[in-house]
């Protein structure tokens, strides 16, 4: 099992990846009973699971080590209104994409970083921090991404209530350009 503190992988070989979405769903529920009615099979090779933030790491590690999901494709951040949504898209060698959907508070601490198990997650997490203001803990000191250094504090472009000072109306819309003082 992965040691969450150091990210050390012991040398147990991974199990072969699943080819059946129903089998995947059953195995997840078997390991985590609270996922009982939270798993949707949208179509072939697409499985969605809603996970509470506190259980995110446990489910992620289990999916990586026991179920063969060793690729983290990306982390999508969304603005759900009162809180932020975080979607972790995992993939395995047989093409199944398992998306773990969790939520994080807009103004409070979010989940810990998953870089111990997925080293490249750093960029994805920095993107969610910069553009949506999520607070993901455990990231080392580093450059921000993707916004420029001089970007003002507290401005999160992807939040629904953020409007730039010079919003251009979409083609075809009739509203005049907004101006802010």
């Amino acid at each position: 099992m992965t040691d969450p503190k150091t990210g050390d992988l012991n040398s147990t070989p991974p199990l072969p990846p699943l080819t059946n979405e129903t089998q995947l769903s059953d195995k997840l529920v078997e390991a985590f009973p609270f996922l009982a009615d939270k798993i949707t099979i949208q179509r072939i090779r697409r499985v969605w699971a809603t996970v509470p933030m506190t259980e995110l790491h446990a489910v992620l590690i289990h999916a990586k080590e026991q179920l063969g999901f060793d690729q983290l494709c990306t982390i999508t951040g969304t603005d759900e209104g009162t809180e932020l949504g975080l979607l972790y898209h995992l993939a395995c060698d047989n093409g199944i994409v398992l998306t773990l959907v969790t939520t994080a508070p807009k103004d409070g601490p979010g989940p810990e970083s998953v870089t111990p198990y997925f080293p490249l997650a750093e960029l994805y997490e920095r993107e969610v921090i910069d553009l949506l203001g999520a607070r993901i803990g455990g990231l080392p000191e580093g450059n921000r991404y993707p916004l420029p250094d001089a970007w003002p504090e507290g401005q999160y472009p992807l939040r629904k209530d953020w409007k730039p000072a010079f919003a251009t109306p979409a083609p075809g819309a009739s509203s005049s350009k907004e101006k802010q003082g």
């Binding site: 420029p148 250094d149 001089a150 970007w151 003002p152 472009p157 730039p164 000072a165 010079f166 919003a167």
Partner: protein, 185 residues
């Protein structure tokens, strides 16, 4: 023009050295600029040489809408070129911001930060259009034109200090209004 001036101008027109810069583009225009150097279009027969440093270049061939992060680098590169220097904006994004006009991290076309002498539209500008643009610029220079069309530009300070997110289009508009207002008085 004295004899030396005439020779120097002739050299500049017959063999313009260019530096190519991508200020946040999608790369399509950049690939077309490089394709102009390949055997089918072969812009080197006009004496155009692609140089690695702005200090050796006569013409800055620039593509892409100017993103905030790259804007002061673009200005720095422009300032490092020796006079007389000319700027060619390749592609619709470089001319006016194109499809990216109004996005929060995009400042607009190249002319929002540096003066531009020639605009080559297209998405992407095809190599034929690029050659046409370069030849038109050289012809205009031959006929004595050397000043770019002056547009009010964002001052360098406004790029460096982003207090609030200032819209370059707003600044341009307000300066143009100011000028119009002055003329009316």
């Amino acid at each position: 023009m004295g004899v030396v001036d005439r020779i120097v101008t002739w050299a500049r027109l017959k063999s313009p050295w260019i530096i190519h810069f991508n200020s946040g583009a999608c790369n399509a225009c950049d690939i077309e600029v490089v394709a102009s150097l390949t055997p089918r279009y072969d812009v080197e027969r006009f004496g155009v040489a692609l140089k690695g440093t702005p200090r050796h270049a006569d013409v800055l061939v620039c593509s892409g809408p100017v993103t905030r992060q790259i804007s002061d680098r673009l200005v720095r590169i422009y300032e490092q070129m020796p006079q007389p220097k000319f700027v060619v904006a390749v592609g619709t994004c470089a001319c006016s911001g194109g499809i990216f006009d109004g996005l929060y991290n995009v400042m607009g076309g190249i002319d929002s930060v540096i003066p531009v002498h020639a605009y080559i539209p297209g998405c992407p500008a095809s190599p034929e259009a690029i050659i046409d643009g370069v030849v038109k610029l050289l012809t205009a220079l031959e006929n004595g034109a050397s000043a770019p069309i002056e547009r009010p530009r964002v001052a360098l300070d406004n790029i460096r200090h982003m207090d609030g997110i200032i819209a370059p289009q707003q600044l341009i508009r307000s300066r143009a209004d100011q000028k119009a207002g002055e003329q009316d008085d």
